[in-house]
Amino acid sequence: MNNLYETQRMMRKARKAAIQRGVIAVLDVGTSKIACFVLKFDTVKARDPQDPVGSMVGQADFKIIGASTIRSRGVKFGDIEIIRETERAIRTTVQAAQKMAGVRVDHVMACFSGGNPRSYGLSGTSVVQNGMVVESDIATVLSECEIPKYGSDRDVLHAQPVNFTLDHKNGLVDPRGQIGKKLSVDMHLLTVDSSSIEAILHCVKRCDLELAGLASSAYVSAISSMVEDEQEIGAACIEMGGGTTGVSIFLKKHMIYSDLVRIGGDHITSDISHGLQIPIDLAERIKNVNGGVLATGMDDRETIEIGGNTGDWEHDKRLVTRSELIGIIRPRVEETLEGIREILVSAGFEFLPSQRIVLTGGGSQIPGLDQLAAKILGQQVRMGRPLRVRGLPQAGSGPAFSSAVGLALFAAYPQDEWWDFEGSNKNYAERSIKRMTKWLRENW
C-alpha cells in the first residue's frame, strides 16, 4: 500500500514534469488495439474567474499532435499476457505517434481495462484541527478511512474522495476553507491485480518511457463520452472493448463504482469463427461489415458470401443469411448486457436519481445495439461518442477511441486522489525531516 502510494506520487511528479515540458503521451492498452496519442500542452494560463464555465472550458489548451493505433498483441481480457509482444506493440505505436508528432516523448500515461477491478466505498471521520478545514485535515480524514482487506496481491488504482460532509453539511465537493468541527469523507477505492500494473510498468520501462499515471479505461472512457449533466445526476458508462466490457457509474462528477464483464467484441468474433468455420480475421471482417443484433424479415433474404481459403470449393463458396449471423452474434451480446445488468443491480444503480446508460467503445458500433440494450438495461440508453479534442484525426474520433481520448482529458485535468493531499499525520518522522530541510533551505 505504502509502496503504491509512493509510486503514485512519483507518477504525479512525472506528470508535472511532462506538462512543464509540454509533451506527454497517452497510451490505451486494449485487448484488440493499442492507441497512442501525443499531447502538446500550450502555455499554462490561469483560468479567468469571470469566464462562464462551459462544458469545453479548459479543454482547449492541449492539442493532439501525434496519433497512431495498431493491433494489440499479447493482451487477453485487458491484461498483458505476453509481455514481449505487448512491449513491442507499445513500442511500435509510440514510435509511430512520435514520428507523426516530430518530438521525442518521455512521459506516458496509460490506461488498461483488466486486472479484475474491484470497487470499495469507504468512509472516514475526523475532527478538524483548527476550526477551518485545510489540506492536512483532508489528508487526516482520508487516512482515517478504514481500508478493506483487498488482498496482498492487489494494488490501489484510484482512490478518489467523492463526497465530504462537514458537521451537518453534506455533499461538499471541496471543503477547504470551510469552518466546522467534524469532517467526514466518502471515498471510492478501485483496486486491481498488482501483476497487471507491474506488467504495464515493465513494458513502459522497457520502451525507455516514464509512466506518468495509470487509469482504469472504464473510468477514462466515461470522462470522454458522458456529458457533464450525466456525470452530475448519475449515469453508467459501458465501454465495450475487445476483450472486456467495463462499467463505471458516475454520480456528482465522481466515479462511485466500477466493474468489469469479461466478455467483449473478440468473443463475438470467435463465436462467428466457430459457428461459420472461418478464420478469425475473416470473422472479424464479416462482423464489422454485416454484423447486427436485430434481425428483420429482410435479413433472411440477404445472403453473405463467407468465403474461406481452404481450397475446398464447396467450403469456400458457402453462403449464410444475415439472420444466421445475427443468430450467432446476438446471444453473446445479450450475455454481455446481462452481465452488465447484474453489475448495475449489485451496485444499486436503480437508486440513483437518473438511470442514464451510455454505450461506448468499439463494440458499441454493432447496429441495433442501443435497442437491444434498452430491452435489457432500461430505456435511457444512448450511444456515446468521445468528446472532440483539438488535433484529433478523423480516424481517432470513433467510439473505439473513447478511452484514449478520455485518458488525454484525464492527463490534462486529473482528479484529485488520495495521494495528492499532503501532510498525513501518520508519517510524523518524515514530516519533521521535511520541516527541517525546509527550514534549512529557507535560512541558508
Binding site: T92, Q95, R104, D208
Partner: protein
C-alpha cells in the same frame, strides 16, 4: 508453441530501431547530426588537404588564375577615360594624376582613391567619377580664377573662395583679374571682390587692394594715392564714400590719403599740405554747412 528464435532477433531489431528513432528526435542530437557533423567533416577535409604545403600552393596558384581570368574578362576592362568640363591641357593633367595604364581591369584600381586624388588638384572644385560601358567618366567642375594675389613677389591666382589655383610669373595674361596683396589677403577674397564690385568712384584709378596688418583693406590708387578702409563695415564705408563724393568729388581732388577707417570721422590728407588734416563732421555735412 511457436518458434521463438526468429522473433527474438526481430524484437532486438525493433528495439534498436526504436531507440535510434528516439535519439533522432532528440533536438540536440538532431542538430549535431544535421549541422555539426557536416561542418566538422568539411573542416576536417579542408585541414587534411591543406596540411600539405604543396596543396596550399596549388590552391593559391589556381585561385589566382581563377581571379585573373575573371578580372581580365572584356566586361570588366576599362578602355577609355573621358573627362568632361575642362580644357585639353587640364584634362591631360588630370590623366597624369589618375595614372592608369589603359586597358585596365576595373578590379585593379580603387575609384574612390582616384577620385580623392583628382579632387586634391587645385584646379578642381568637384569631381564626379563613375564607370559605364567600360569607360571611366570624369566630370570636373573647374575652379574659376577670380583674383590675383601678390604674396612676397609671388603671384597666385585664387578662386572666389580664396583657394589657390596656380602660380603665375606675371600679370600680363591676367589683366582682367583684380589684384590683391598682403599677408592673409587670400582668406578675404570675397570681401576684396565685394570692394571691387562696389567701388564706383575709384574704379578707373584703382590698382589693387592691400591687406594691412591682416586686418583691413587699403585701396591703392594711381598717382600714389590710397583709400584706407575700416576692418569692419566695408560696405558702409563704400556707401559713405559715394555720399561724400557728391560734395567733395574725391576722384577729381588731389589728395594723398583718404581715411575711411572711422566713417564718422573721415580724414583727407592732401599732397601739398602733408601735415594738415581735414575732419568732416557728419552732422555738418548733412546740414550742408560744408
Amino acid at each position: 508453441m511457436q518458434s521463438l528464435k526468429n522473433k527474438e532477433t526481430n524484437q532486438r531489431l525493433s528495439r534498436v530501431n526504436y531507440r535510434l528513432e528516439r535519439l533522432w528526435l532528440t533536438p540536440i542530437i538532431r542538430g549535431l547530426i544535421r549541422y555539426g557533423i557536416p561542418v566538422f567533416l568539411i573542416i576536417i577535409i579542408c585541414c587534411a588537404y591543406f596540411s600539405k604545403s604543396d596543396n596550399l600552393d596549388i590552391f593559391k596558384v589556381s585561385w589566382r588564375e581563377f581571379r585573373e581570368n575573371i578580372k581580365n574578362r572584356p566586361e570588366f576592362l576599362i578602355n577609355l577615360i573621358k573627362i568632361d568640363g575642362v580644357n585639353h591641357r587640364i584634362s591631360n593633367e588630370i590623366r597624369s594624376v589618375m595614372n592608369l595604364d589603359l586597358p585596365i581591369s576595373s578590379y585593379d584600381f580603387d575609384l574612390e582613391n582616384i577620385k580623392s586624388k583628382v579632387q586634391l588638384m587645385n584646379i578642381v572644385e568637384t569631381a564626379n567619377l563613375f564607370i559605364a560601358d567600360n569607360i571611366i567618366h570624369v566630370e570636373i567642375l573647374e575652379r574659376k580664377p577670380s583674383i590675383i594675389w601678390q604674396n612676397n613677389d609671388n603671384l597666385e591666382i585664387l578662386d572666389a573662395n580664396g583657394i589657390s589655383i596656380s602660380s603665375v610669373n606675371s600679370r600680363h595674361k591676367h589683366l582682367n583679374l583684380p589684384l590683391i596683396a598682403g599677408q592673409g589677403a587670400n582668406k578675404h577674397v570675397k570681401e576684396a571682390l565685394f570692394i571691387y564690385h562696389h567701388n564706383l568712384i575709384f574704379s578707373e584709378q584703382l590698382i589693387g587692394l592691400v591687406r594691412v596688418g591682416n586686418r583691413r583693406w587699403n585701396m591703392d590708387l594711381i598717382n600714389n594715392r590710397r583709400v584706407m578702409l575700416p576692418s569692419e563695415g566695408v560696405n558702409k564705408a563704400l556707401k559713405k564714400m559715394i555720399e561724400l563724393n557728391f560734395v567733395y568729388e574725391f576722384s577729381s581732388k588731389n589728395f594723398n590719403v583718404l581715411d575711411f577707417r572711422n566713417i564718422n570721422r573721415v580724414i583727407i590728407r592732401k599732397n601739398n599740405e602733408p601735415t594738415q588734416t581735414i575732419e568732416i563732421k557728419l552732422d555738418k555735412l548733412e546740414k550742408g554747412e560744408i
